[in-house]
């Protein structure tokens, strides 16, 4: 433990240390690896309780999906005209959540944003788990999931038949699977040095073997580091466009159709912004919890969180702008069906969903204009939650309220979710949390190697002050 250093308050305000407390490499390693190396049975009870709860919800998911496959889509509330409802809503919701992960890691990495280091790992993990949750829905929303492999372009010389490459759903297959793969690689590559660290600190044979294999023989040689940096940079480069492409493609599912409220060109940017918005909100939620429960106050500082608040403010406003534009264009187009659809969104049977969306996504985040709000943990926690709710409702509004009253009044309908709808969605949350908890306990949740980079950097930067302090 090195000397405690008082910093010049003025400096702190301008640019506080990202890794305060003058911690050195060893402290960082200790703190983070400590979480993993603790005796499994010594893990605090609250962890196991939470895990068993989320695990239980995960089991619920399994049950629901089994019931669904055994009985048919009819167990959900979907109907005619509302062919898609919670299923695709959840799909888009989870995919959206995934975005922040890649964004934080890749883009901020390319922009050399140091503050990302303490959150990128969990953000990436979150991406993976979110994509896993999202992936469930395109598969299980099909009427005959056992035939869902027909969605993949496998040459079938028995039928002599190809897929229809004009269908946005096929584009989705490519987009989402690519996204999943790249994110996984990106995440794992980043993990390697840390895995090696843990391997080297390992005291038990089992851990040695497990982390040994996972570390893929990393020995931290200069060559390793060079290749590692290169690989990481390339992957970051690849994932950056993906952040934009995936949700653009997902938005095509709607934009390409003829349904008023779907058939609009604003969707790609609007969806991407929304995705980042929701993604950051979700990261925020998780970090606040992690910070508190694993007490990482020194590593996840207010500075990090405040920056995220700013981003949420920006993206939230973009989304709000998009809502406005939609309305304006609907009116300006002079197309009666479009006009009706948007009036119906705001004042029709689903007005409550619409106004939930507006208040959660547009109004509440405006609080972040004030620094007091941006720096208050409880406030940002609550807002991150409401934002996630709001973003879920955004997808619900787009999908269900557009479908429930389209062209012919005779075929109008109303959607009511069934208990299976609800349990399935809850189940995916269970899946997400379970994976995250396991990750938090058994893998380095913060990129040690990168944080150390920052430590080194700051040691250098703040040297002057330390002398002053003497």
């Amino acid at each position: 433990m090195s000397v405690v250093v008082e910093q010049d308050p003025a400096l702190l305000v301008v640019n506080p240390r990202l890794v305060p407390g003058g911690q050195d490499y060893h402290d960082v390693t200790n703190k983070i690896s400590g979480i993993i190396e603790g005796e499994v049975f010594k893990t605090p009870m609250k962890y196991w309780i939470t895990l068993s709860v989320t695990g239980g919800i995960l089991v619920l998911l399994g049950a629901m999906l089994t019931y669904l496959v055994a009985t048919g889509i009819g167990v959900w509330g979907n109907n005619r005209p509302i062919g898609w409802a919670w299923d695709i809503t959840n799909f888009v919701f989870w995919i959206g959540i995934g975005h922040a992960g890649t964004l934080i890691s890749a883009i901020l990495f390319l922009f050399r944003q140091k503050w990302r280091t303490s959150i990128n790992r969990s953000a990436e993990a979150m991406t993976l788990f979110a994509v896993a949750c999202a992936g469930i829905f395109p598969l299980f929303h099909t009427g005959r999931p056992w035939r869902a492999y027909w969605l993949f372009p496998i040459w079938n010389s028995d039928l002599n038949l190809w897929q229809n490459f004009r269908s946005p759903l096929i584009w989705d297959v490519f987009a989402v699977s690519t996204y999943g793969t790249v994110s996984a690689l990106f995440w794992f590559t980043g993990l390697i040095p840390d895995l090696a660290t843990i391997r080297d600190r390992a005291t038990t044979k089992v851990r040695q073997w497990v982390f040994g294999v996972l570390a893929l023989g990393w020995r931290g040689s200069a060559r390793h580091w060079r290749n590692y940096e290169a690989a990481y940079l390339i992957l970051a480069g690849i994932s950056t466009p993906l952040v934009l492409s995936v949700h653009t493609i997902v938005s095509f599912d709607f934009a390409v159709s003829v349904i008023p409220g779907w058939h609009t060109t604003i969707f790609p940017p609007y969806f991407v912004a929304g995705a980042i918005f929701s993604g950051f909100a979700c990261v925020m939620t998780l970090l606040v919890i992690a910070r508190w429960s694993l007490n990482l106050h020194d590593l996840i500082t207010i500075k990090h969180l405040e920056n995220m608040c700013k981003i949420m403010l920006v993206t939230g406003s973009i989304v709000g702008y998009a809502y406005g534009t939609e309305f304006f264009i609907a009116w300006y187009s002079g197309n009666g069906y479009e006009r009706f659809t948007f009036l119906n969104r705001a004042f029709g049977p689903y007005y409550w969903a619409y106004w939930t969306m507006i208040s959660c996504n547009v109004l509440i985040p405006q609080l972040f204009w004030f620094k007091r709000m941006r720096t208050s943990i409880p406030v940002m926690f609550v807002i991150s939650i409401t934002t996630n709710i709001g973003m879920w409702f955004e997808r619900f509004v787009i999908i269900v309220t557009s479908l429930h009253r389209d062209f012919l009044p005779s075929s109008w309908g109303y959607f009511r979710p069934t208990w299976v709808d609800m349990c399935t969605f809850t189940g995916t949350i269970g899946l997400f949390l379970t994976l995250f908890l396991l990750f938090a306990r058994f893998l380095p949740m913060i990129a040690m190697s990168e944080v150390k980079g920052v430590v080194a950097d700051e040691k250098h930067k703040f040297k002057g002050q330390e002398l002053v302090a003497r």
Partner: protein
């Protein structure tokens, strides 16, 4: 599937051979190999039911052996059958009697299984069309809940035991013997009746049906002094006034009136514009006739006699001057009356006034009188003498006779009651307490299709044979007789009414076939040695044609109305009382009088007006609802004297105020699972003094509520002024008055506000070979639902049940959309059939990820069910929402026997698959193959009829090759009124509409 093989490789002797088959050692052995478990149960069967088990076997087989290639057997006949081709469909003629009317039908059968009903063009009351009920009747044969056992006191018995019991009856002179039947439409049965009454002189035979046309006959008796059959010639009338007459709907069980009426409701050429007729409807509940009327006046049933009298007075048919009731000249009734009188006068011999079966005799008589004064008697309405057997003095028919019978029964004078069909214990007026009376009869015998309320109350119950599985004969009201031939041996071993009577009186012929055939052979003249041969020939010709050539339409008779008697009768009519609510009764468009309650197709066919499925409701007007402050689904108590009924209300725009209407035939207590406790039993408040409508009912909310299963969102007014029942200013159904049409012939095109989008891709040009298209004429379409059920029957469309309908998952490939226009209190209705539009730029096609739906070179929007993975993307992207998704395995709970009704030319879709209309592509392919095989000719125009087109009583649907300028469909598409729904999306629908024309009276326009 061995199922398929068996179906295809066996002949009309199908059932028999399978019985035998089911007992063969090889078969047992085979089944045992395939079925370790259920083999024994499977083969315990005797009789024809074995076939059902056999089907079960083949299903199970598929399941059990899914893992490896199943061993499947081909079971050919042992002896070949001449001219029989396995798998080919054959058509046989027959006739269906219902409610005193007969419709000649052609039944499509596959390998001995009747699968589809079509109208018989040769039969005068069908002219090739069939109604929804007739279409659905084929499902009735396979109804697994049909009675299959003889019951004695509710316990299983047998035919021999029953026959023994009948022999043991000591009937003497028959003083204690009574017969109760529905309206007898069968000459041979009438002959047997005569024999029976000759053998038992003191016996009586009563005809009673809860929904009949007694008042009409009574009306003729009153007007002409003799019972006559009136025949309204709607095609000859220019102005038609319907006094509470739903001749386009529930007042006729035959398609004839619609056929005739629609002839004058079609504007395909210049001259038609002047030919088009005008229809005035005066009624309480909104009926199909009211929906198709150019002017509709809503009056309570009890106010209509007065209205008719005023009309007659105004026309000078009744003495005296017209004293206008109602509040002054501003009043709609007054204006209506005035305009109508003028119009009728000017129409003269081309005018027609008809009264509905629900109105009392005097109104009918009055109608005849009016026609007489207009000089249209004999032109627009003709009369014939009923056939001899119907004027049989022994034939006691109608409510009075039934009431007398009930009285006799309860006073114990009846020792033996033979109920030939029907379900009187359920359908009898409440005050007659028939069920109680029945319990007083020592020997009560019930012949019925179902083990129903009556079966439970009777001592003996004998299963009746379905009309499609029994020999019989019918005589239509026009006098033309037709033979009823069975398509299949009685599945559950039922008997016909004739067989019962023959057994009872121990007649010479005891088998239905002999009874019918010998009766007719005796009717036909024939002498000399070859007489037998000639008669046999006539017999075969009659079977082939579906009508008996020797029975021509009866001559019209000249008759004149006795004005004085009519005037007296009118004067005697009780005046309507102001107090209380009037409740009107009408047959259900689905369950009729209750006999089709267990028919899934009918239960799920949305009511043409209310769009209500799986149940009925007390229909009340919005004003009444406001007054009583009731909303949709509130359960109220309707009571009057000592009868009362709890029923849910439904608000019916355009219903007469201070009145309620409720459909009969629901709330069955003892019925198959389909109809059991569906809806509310209106018979509980139908008394013989309030038979069609009763006044002075009180209506009291109970606080309970009920959910209606409607197929059209019941949007409430004030929901931002938008409402699923209105078009909200969207040019979906486009209509104009004749005047407007003359001014702007292109009004339909002009209605489209937005110019059509332009595609940036090169358009596919469909100009080679056949290009299929459809034109639907909204002017002649009445919205009768026949097409909906015909499509269901042709395309194996599943029934989903009430719960699923409420979730908006009904599967009908052709949807009958109903929109209200105008004021909520007194709107008009437009009906629009919506099948798949077969868009050339189909939005559904390019979003399907697996290319399960693609475009055929002939412009069909093909759907390959077996390729569909069920993403439902196509459904979302379909602007018409005419794609239907199998949310669940809707065939899961089908009993095996239900599979027999399926059309083998159409695959039965599994769960998780999207399905839709493809213009009956199976019929197109069949026609194509036939055309190719015989001399490589082209398919003729009209050679292919889609199921909906074939059955349409209004000939509103025309299908054909739009690439052939000479075809009917292309001619119609050239019409100025031709328009495509949502054309602005550049989807290029192949199904287009001819905009609706109404012909209102200019005077009432202002």
């Amino acid at each position: 599937m061995s199922l398929i093989s068996i179906k295809s490789k066996t002949g009309p002797k199908y059932w028999r051979s399978l019985d035998h088959l089911a007992d063969t050692p090889e078969f047992r052995e085979w089944v045992h190999r395939e079925f370790p478990v259920s083999a024994s149960e499977m083969l315990d069967g005797k009789s024809r039911r074995t076939v059902l088990k056999l089907m079960a076997a083949s299903f199970g087989l598929a399941g059990l052996t899914a893992c490896r290639r199943p061993v499947e057997h081909i079971l050919p006949n042992v002896a070949g059958i001449e001219d029989y081709i396995p798998g080919a469909q054959y058509y046989y003629s027959t006739a269906m009697p219902l409610g005193g009317q007969v419709t000649g039908l052609l039944i499509e059968t596959h390998d001995g299984r009747p699968t589809k009903v079509e109208g018989n063009p040769g039969h005068p009351s069908s002219l090739g069309a069939a109604t929804a009920i007739q279409q659905a009747s084929v499902l009735g044969i396979y109804d697994p809940d049909r009675s299959s056992k003889v019951l004695e006191g509710g316990k299983e018995s047998s035919f021999p035991k029953f026959e023994a019991a009948v022999k043991a009856l000591s009937l003497a002179d028959g003083s204690g013997l009574r017969f109760l039947s529905g309206l007898v439409m069968s000459p041979s049965l009438s002959a047997l009746r005569a024999q029976a009454l000759a053998k038992f002189p003191k016996a009586k035979w009563v005809e009673y049906e809860p929904v009949a046309r007694d008042n009409e006959t009574a009306g003729t008796t009153l007007a002409f002094g003799q019972p006559l059959y009136p025949h309204a010639q709607y095609d000859k009338a220019k102005v038609v006034v319907a006094l509470d007459s739903d001749f386009l709907g529930l007042d006729s069980t035959a398609p004839l009136p619609t056929k005739l009426f629609s002839k004058r409701r079609r504007v395909h050429a210049e001259e038609d514009v002047d030919k088009i007729n005008r229809l005035y409807a005066v009624e309480s509940q909104f009926s199909l006739t009211g929906a198709n009327a150019d002017h509709r006046l809503r009056l309570r049933g009890s106010e209509i006699p007065q209205f008719a009298a005023d009309l007659a007075t105004g026309l000078g048919a009744l003495p005296g001057t017209l004293v206008v009731v109602g509040n002054g000249s501003g009043d709609k009734r007054t204006k209506f009356l005035g305009a109508m009188i003028k119009d009728l006068k000017s129409a003269g011999t081309e005018a027609l006034v008809v009264a509905g079966a629900r109105q009392p005799a005097s109104v009918h008589a009055l109608a005849y009188l009016i026609n007489q004064s207009l000089g249209s008697l004999g032109t627009t309405i003709t009369f014939t003498k009923p056939p001899a057997e119907k004027v049989d003095p022994n034939a006691l028919s109608g409510l009075e006779a039934f009431r007398a019978l009930a009285a006799e029964m309860s006073s114990g004078q009846v020792s033996t009651l033979v109920i030939l069909g029907g379900n009187p214990a359920y359908t009898s007026p409440a005050d007659l307490q028939f069920a109680v009376a029945l319990s007083k009869v020592t020997n009560s015998i019930h012949l019925g299709l179902e083990d129903d309320e009556t079966a439970a109350a009777a001592k003996w119950h004998v299963p009746e044979a379905h009309y499609l599985e029994s020999w019989g004969d019918t005589r239509a009201r026009s006098g033309v007789a037709a033979i009823q031939q069975p398509m299949i041996d009685p599945l559950y071993g039922g008997r016909t009414a004739a067989e019962m009577v023959a057994l009872l009186i121990d007649a010479k012929d005891k088998k239905a076939y002999d009874i019918v055939k010998n009766y007719w052979l005796n009717q036909w003249p024939g002498a000399g040695k070859d007489a037998a041969a000639v008669k046999e020939k006539t017999w075969r010709e009659s079977l082939n044609a579906g009508v008996i050539a020797s029975t021509k339409t009866v001559e019209n008779i000249k008759a004149s109305v006795d004005a004085k008697k009519v005037a007296a009768a009118v004067a005697a009519e009780p005046k309507p009382v102001a107090a209380g609510v009037e409740v009107g009764f009408y047959p259900s468009a689905a369950a009729w009088d209750g006999r089709f309650a267990n028919n899934g197709w009918m239960q799920e066919a949305p009511d043409p007006i209310t769009k209500l499925t799986w149940g009925n409701a007390a229909m009340i007007s919005p004003a009444t609802a406001r007054a009583q402050n009731l909303t949709d689904g509130d359960i109220v108590t309707l009571s009057r004297g000592n009868v009362k009924l709890e029923a849910a209300v439904m608000i019916q725009p355009g219903h007469a105020d201070n009145a309620a209407s409720i459909a009969l035939g629901y709330g069955r207590e003892r019925c198959g699972p389909v109809g059991q406790d569906v809806g509310f039993n209106a018979y509980l408040i139908r008394t013989s003094d309030a038979y069609w409508f009763g006044q002075g009912f009180t209506i009291a909310p109970t606080g309970k509520t009920h959910k209606h299963a409607t197929t059209q969102e019941h949007g409430t007014i004030g929901d931002q002024g938008v409402n699923a029942e209105h078009q909200n200013g969207r040019p979906v159904v486009r209509e104009a008055t004749l005047e407007e049409y003359k001014k702007h012939p292109k009004f339909a095109e002009e209605a489209q506000e937005v110019p059509a989008l332009e595609s940036i891709y090169p358009q596919v040009i469909y100009d080679k070979g056949y290009q299929w298209g459809m034109s639907i004429d909204l002017t002649s379409c009445t919205g009768c639902n026949a097409c909906v059920v015909a499509c269901q029957s042709e395309n194996n469309i599943p029934v989903v049940g009430k719960d699923q309908v409420m979730r908006g998952r009904e599967m009908h490939w052709i949807r009958m959309d109903r929109y209200y226009t105008g004021a909520e209190d007194d709107p008009t209705i437009v009906e629009q059939p919506v099948p798949c539009m077969q868009c050339e730029n189909a939005p559904c096609e390019n979003v399907c990820p697996v290319a399960a739906t693609t475009h055929s070179p002939e412009g069909l929007n093909d759907m390959a069910y077996n390729r569909c993975v069920g993403t439902r993307y196509c459904l979302n992207n379909c602007p018409f929402k005419v794609r239907h998704f199998n949310f669940l395995n809707f065939h899961k709970h089908d009993p095996d026997v239900a599979g027999l009704v399926h059309n083998p030319d159409v695959s039965v879709r599994m769960r998780g698959v999207m399905e839709k209309c493809t213009y009956c592509v199976q019929r197109i392919e069949e026609a194509r193959i036939n055309a190719k095989v015989d001399g490589r000719r082209a398919i003729k125009d009209g050679e292919i009829k889609t199921a909906c087109q074939q059955t349409c009583p209004a000939d509103a649907i025309v299908f054909g090759n739009i690439n052939d300028p000479a075809s009917r469909v292309s001619a119609l598409k050239k019409q100025e009124r031709n328009y495509a729904m949502l054309a602005e999306l550049d989807i290029r629908p192949r199904t287009t509409y001819l905009a609706k024309l109404r012909n209102p009276n200019p005077e009432l326009q202002a």
